[in-house]
């Protein structure tokens, strides 16, 4: 029937069960995983001039990951029962649920990240390489699993796609690199007493290189988003409505305005335009924009995905 001839008179209330705190949780684990990966690349890269980056990432990663699950505890209706998740007894946990393997990763990853940070700071290169290699799959899966939480939420058309885990990991890399750039800039500007001019200049070169890396990952992220949107527009009716919400509806400002324009396109231009790409101010602005953009991405996926009515 022509939709203009249908009127809803009565229905039970619609709910958005997973709220903004869950989006924030995804955001923080993403930051953690992204900065850990950058740190490990710097440590395994071998060259001594990369070492400072490795050190920054080694601190940022466990810090973000300790903050992240707090959001979950506040969000849960029964936070005092959270320990039920950690019994690991076959009859008490459900191995099919992504939350279950997430809890295991959330236990293992911070421990390995802290041990890694310890060895990086005590200068034990051999052991830090060992824990870097252990940490990489953990870091990727700790964020990848949040993509599975979203992807296995079968009722929501925006979520239930095979692209979600990859999209989450790539956007985690984007925000993690941006955070690393910010931390490296702060270190370069405020904590460089007693260093020679050449050392500071070398440090800056490193930051500019990181900016280029950020640009490359943003391009990949934009490509994945394009994939997701094109499929949404041609898939089921629910998917079409999800695309409607994101592209010209309720969440278009968050998605097109903040995530795509402010958080991807403008920073992309800034990290490749020579003037801004080789200035610390320009890179600071680009990184802050990227971090705001990824926050908007988590928000529009979590909240926007649940905003298509199901009954």
């Amino acid at each position: 029937m022509d939709p203009s001839n249908v009127n809803l008179l009565y229905n039970s209330p619609h709910q958005i069960p997973l709220g903004i705190l869950l989006a924030q949780y995804f955001y923080l684990t993403g930051l953690s995983a992204g900065s850990f990966v950058v740190s490990v690349i710097a440590i395994l890269g071998g060259k001594t001039e990369y070492k400072p980056l490795g050190k920054i990432g080694a601190v940022v990663a466990p810090l973000c990951l300790i903050l992240a699950p707090m959001n979950l505890l506040v969000e849960m209706a029964q936070p005092l029962r959270a320990w039920h998740l950690m019994t690991y007894l076959p009859g008490y946990i459900n191995p099919k649920s992504p939350i279950t393997y997430g809890v295991m990763l959330l236990t293992a990853y911070p421990i390995s990240a802290i041990i890694y940070a310890f060895f990086v700071y005590t200068g034990n290169m051999k052991m830090s390489k060992v824990f870097a290699i252990i940490g990489i799959p953990l870091a990727i899966s700790v964020h990848g699993y949040t993509g599975f939480i979203i992807a296995l939420g079968k009722g929501r058309a925006l979520w239930n796609t095979a692209l979600m885990p990859t999209l989450f990991i790539v956007s985690a890399m984007v925000s993690g690199i941006a955070l690393m750039i910010l931390a490296a800039i702060i270190r370069n500007v405020y904590f460089s007493q007693g260093k020679t001019e050449e050392e500071i200049e070398a440090d800056r070169k490193l930051i500019y290189g990181l900016g280029k890396f950020l640009g490359a990952v943003i391009i990949f992220d934009l490509f994945l988003i394009l994939n997701a949107v094109l499929v949404l527009l041609t898939s089921s009716k629910g998917a079409w409505h999800a695309a409607e919400l994101l592209l010209w509806g309720r969440y278009s400002l968050d998605f097109l305005g903040v995530e795509i324009l402010l958080g991807s396109v403008i920073p992309l231009f800034m990290v490749f335009y020579p003037k801004t790409a080789t200035s610390l101010k320009g890179l600071t602005i680009a990184s802050i924009l990227v971090m705001v953009g990824i926050y908007a991405m988590r928000y529009s996926v979590v909240i926007g995905g649940q905003s298509v009515p199901l009954h």
């Binding site: 029937m1 939709p3 001839n5 249908v6 009127n7 809803l8 008179l9 009565y10 229905n11 039970s12 209330p13 619609h14 709910q15 958005i16 069960p17 997973l18 709220g19 979950l72 969000e75 849960m76 209706a77 029964q78 029962r81 959270a82 039920h84 998740l85 009859g91 008490y92 946990i93 459900n94 099919k96 649920s97 992504p98 939350i99 279950t100 809890v103 939480i149 296995l152 939420g153 079968k154 009722g155 929501r156 009716k237 629910g238 409505h241 409607e244 919400l245 509806g249 309720r250 649940q306 905003s307 298509v308 009515p309 199901l310 009954h311």
Partner: protein, 218 residues
């Protein structure tokens, strides 16, 4: 050699598995909402929350208009995503097919609410755990019908064991065209509708999705 079971002569009655289900015959539904009321009083459903409710739409242009009803409840799916996604096994499937929630195990993570394709679960704001329709299993276990079925004045709701060929529900289902909501999702819902309206079954029909009001979960 074991005899082959045929649809006419059912197999050994002892071994037959019970599978509870509900048929809602909309030709008999008058949209009186007494099922919603009965459910609320039977299960102490808090204010503003529903385990069973009747969605009502209006369609057409004057003078060719009608009201269509869609009594809605948990479908007690045979392949429920809520059960698959519950991390602590709080959501369970009984051998007779009823999907329940263990009130002492639920940690309130709300993942089941986010994954259920029918949005039939809610958080009880007083007890802070997830609840939903479970075909009044406390009544069924005592040999009674669910409260909504007993109260339905048009006898639109039929409840029973679909694997028992002598039950009313099995006979109604064998002799009428039945549909379920969103069969394409593979959840195998076990609430069947006769003469359900296309637009009433469509969650986005008759609403502007940009202006839907949402409720806090609790």
């Amino acid at each position: 050699m074991p005899e082959k079971s045929s649809p006419i002569a059912p197999a050994d009655d002892e071994k037959r598995k019970t599978r509870y289900a509900m048929v809602i015959d909309l030709r008999h539904c008058v949209g009186c909402h007494s099922c919603s009321v009965a459910c609320k009083s039977e299960n102490e459903v808090p204010l503003g929350k529903f385990r069973s409710w009747v969605k009502v739409i209006e369609k057409g242009r004057y003078p060719d208009v009608s009201r269509q009803f869609l009594p809605s409840l948990c479908n007690n799916c045979a392949n429920p995503i809520c059960n698959r996604n519950c991390p602590v096994r709080a959501t369970y499937i009984r051998p007779d097919g009823i999907v329940g929630v263990n009130q002492h195990r639920c940690i309130g993570c709300m993942y089941c609410m986010a994954s259920c394709p029918y949005d039939v679960r809610y958080i009880n704001p007083l007890r802070k755990i997830v609840q939903k329709c479970f075909f009044c299993d406390h009544r069924v276990d005592k040999g009674l019908e669910p409260a909504c079925v007993e109260t339905c004045l048009g006898k639109a709701r039929i409840f029973g064991d679909i694997n028992d060929p002598n039950s009313e529900i099995a006979q109604v289902m064998s002799t009428n065209p039945v549909v379920t909501l969103k069969p394409d999702l593979g959840t195998e819902p076990h609430v069947f509708y006769i003469a359900a309206d296309y637009d009433a079954m469509d969650p986005t029909s008759g609403v502007d999705i940009n202006f839907i009001l949402f409720e806090e979960p609790y």
